[in-house]
Symmetry: C2
């Protein structure tokens, strides 16, 4: 096969595929088209860069353009793929020198996702941001920087939108920040802004923060945010971002009233960038993301999709689902790189395992948490919530850990779980995720030989306490 | 059945069985004979009591005698069961008022284990201890107490051997402690003694600390102990505990020389207390512990064994094995209590999952770690060790985490794993334990959807990095 392996998108999935493919098959050409200046940046690190815990944007690149070059990847930044012709096996590319057609032997669509912000009026005002690109993140950090101490901002980092960063660096930092949306981004940005002593207002249309984590976790996170001085506006839908009259944000108006704010962050979700294949035979799934098989291949031979633009098989439901997360993108990209190199490798299932930090509260979730979703998948869900110590009761430093497990009444099959607590809570969700991957029943989980030592876990780990109580309820 | 459910031993397994049985079947009499004054004490908490992190011995009782009474358990302390007649279904008991025969309907032997110390000459000298009873632990803590500040010790706690505690409270604290044995007890006591500013010498006959955790963990722990001022005598066998000429310890002599010490702790292992059934038809396993089936029943109908005196089925080998650990005792006891009440409940498998803290180093192990043991079980083991970050590289506070995974070459089946690191390392072993319980291959583990967020884990959790590298080696 003489035509190259062409990859659209130079982030986690795309560059994982490119790197793995080059290692497996050093003779084959790999071309990666990335429409932006940035490649392979750590999306999930951005709130911590704004907070000031990460010094430089460059620290968050997992692969620099020169690393890519060393691996023999032909990486073309500022090249946007604008069309795919699956009959001709070519992509249309717009680059700095104009448009051209690029033939491919195999194609990986790894175009990621984008922040949703359009529904909110005023999202274009100066000082309103989404935290979904390096440029806007750099601008937010610059905005928080006292112009007298400009070293906190990074106007001169390679690849960054220098003009944008300098514009916000020149402004006086805002005193109040409004956050629209109480998901990952909203909760993490609340922590980041509080660290800069801003007056932080968080608006969330539902009554619950972190909806995918379920109510018990949402409540503990709300409590933590309030304890840290964040004003929560739960059950309030933001109607518009208000202008200050000069093209910048002045505040937000919601169904509950209005709040003045000099900085607004919108984090109300993301959607898959699947538009590139919209007019091709490549099929999308119900979620609007690209449908793939267990090797990440679409319905068109030789065309793959991986990462935030693709659906994958869910470990619990067995159906395809869209859960855009970092590990999934890396793992699927790597598997596709290996498969295209001639060694078929499954991309693996997803369980929707996710963890998030809200100040000192560690939260985790995996599998099916919402009962409606569980019923849609054909299960009869029962959940139990327990609060258990993270260490032996007599050992200092333990913390109340809230575990909710959900199972199917008929079969006892474990469907999902959530956890919240301040002492090594989040990472314990991996036990539940591993149980889901293996179709364990709650009874089997209850009998699993987990670790116990006073500094790390009580005799019955909080996850086991959850399994014990849920299994008791199933038996009744 | 009119005769009571009789339980021999009032610790984790015995009282878990008694409590569960009373809840399931409130009408049936449950009699627990405990030879000592203490019941249900947290063996694993003792080093932290000596260290001073736990204030009172009473904090470490998970069930007090009055709790037991409230649950309707007929608990007889200072009653030693000295014989079992399985034909007559009676046990012979020696109590404060003499000897008597007690009929039983069902019998649970939960006699635990005892510290091995006899092989070492001088183990009877004053100031030489094992850390396997509340009395000796209280005495060690009293010994470390400055007689001028006696509130640190607890001579007046109910149930304690007051004379012993007062004897050591009256002495000047020692300046040097020698520890014989580098297993759990040895490593934890090194930390406890160092906290009291003692000069600590630890002797370990093998070259490696924490042998069940394998070499990579042993090395990291040795490094940690040395950094904290502990003098290690690895590869040195202690020949005897030396006398000071007055019936107290003066030091220890080993194959490597001799060290003066005013306090000696021997922690060279424990052995199952299975002697009670030695002259009965109840069969022992190869380990010398009592053989049981999946419900904890012995070969004699109606006679059960659970906890540190019993063997259980190993999740990886499928054979029976003796791994005395706290969760196992609690879980098996609880299951037997339920089974005897008429609801047959499996005791579950063991994977030998264990965690231990050595200063700030967190260590975990599960499954088959030693290659000889893996070969004995019919496997062809291959291990790989990786060192991976515990958090995203750019996020502060991460730590190098050492993961070793072992698999069978032929099948790719995961056999075991170990972990060491200072940031949430130990608890991650639960992921590997859950994988073992489900007979996962390394490839399946590699594709498991584990948690990722910069403060808690890199994109690829250290366990996944281990699986990726081992799976790569298996494929080569």
């Amino acid at each position: 096969m003489s035509d190259p392996f062409v990859i659209v998108g130079g982030d986690a999935a795309g560059l994982s595929a490119a790197s793995k493919h080059r290692r497996e098959n050093p003779d084959r050409e790999v071309v990666v088209f990335e429409k932006g200046r940035w490649v392979s940046y750590a999306q999930c690190g951005m709130p911590y860069y704004v907070k000031g815990e990460v010094d430089s944007l460059l620290d968050m690149l997992s692969l620099t353009p020169s690393d890519a070059e060393e691996r023999g990847i032909d990486l073309r930044r500022e090249h946007e793929v604008v069309g795919v012709d699956t009959d001709a096996s070519t992509v249309s590319v717009e680059g700095p020198d104009g448009r051209f057609e690029q033939p491919y032997g195999d194609l990986l669509v790894a175009t990621g996702a984008q922040a949703v912000s359009e529904p909110i009026e005023g999202h274009h005002l100066g000082g309103a941001f989404t935290i979904h690109s390096m440029d806007s993140t750099a601008a937010v950090r610059a905005f928080l920087t006292d112009p007298a101490e400009p070293e906190f901002a990074e106007p001169n980092v390679e690849y960054v939108d220098t003009a944008l960063v300098e514009e916000f660096l020149a402004r006086e930092p805002p005193e109040t920040a409004a956050i629209v949306g109480g998901g990952y981004v909203g909760v993490e940005m609340a922590e980041a802004f509080a660290a800069h002593d801003l007056d932080v207002h968080l608006f969330q249309r539902p009554e619950q923060l972190l909806e995918p984590f379920g109510e018990p976790v949402g409540e503990r996170v709300a409590e933590t945010l309030r304890e840290n001085g964040v004003t929560l506006h739960l059950g309030e839908a933001v109607e518009r971002i208000e202008s200050d009259g000069n093209g910048d944000v002045g505040g937000v108006s919601s169904t509950g009233g209005s709040v003045d704010a000099g900085l607004v962050v919108v984090g109300i979700g993301i959607r898959p960038n699947s538009g590139l294949v919209a007019n091709t035979p490549v099929e999308l799934g119900e979620s609007g993301a690209i449908a793939t098989d267990r090797y990440g291949e679409t319905n068109v031979d030789g065309v793959y999709a991986a990462g935030d633009c693709a659906e994958m098989r869910h470990a619990v439901t067995g159906s395809h689902d869209w859960v855009p997360l970092g590990l999934t993108a890396n793992r699927a990209g790597r598997a596709v790189g290996q498969t295209v190199a001639g060694r078929p490798t499954p991309v693996g299932d997803i369980a929707g395992t996710a963890v998030v930090k809200a100040f000192d509260m560690e939260c985790g979730r995996t599998g099916l948490v919402d009962h409606d979703r569980a019923r849609d998948a054909g299960f009869d869900p029962l959940s139990k919530t327990v609060t258990a110590g993270s260490r032996s009761g007599y050992y200092p430093g333990g913390a109340e850990t809230t575990v909710t497990l959900t199972a199917d009444r008929g079969s006892g099959k474990l469907l999902g779980g959530t956890i919240a607590g301040t002492d090594r809570a989040a990472i314990r969700i991996d036990t539940v995720a591993t149980a889901l991957e293996n179709d364990m029943t709650v009874g089997e989980l209850e009998r699993t030989d987990l670790a116990y030592a006073p500094p790390f876990s009580p005799v019955w780990d909080p996850v086991l306490v959850g399994a014990k109580v849920l299994n008791g309820a199933l038996e009744d």
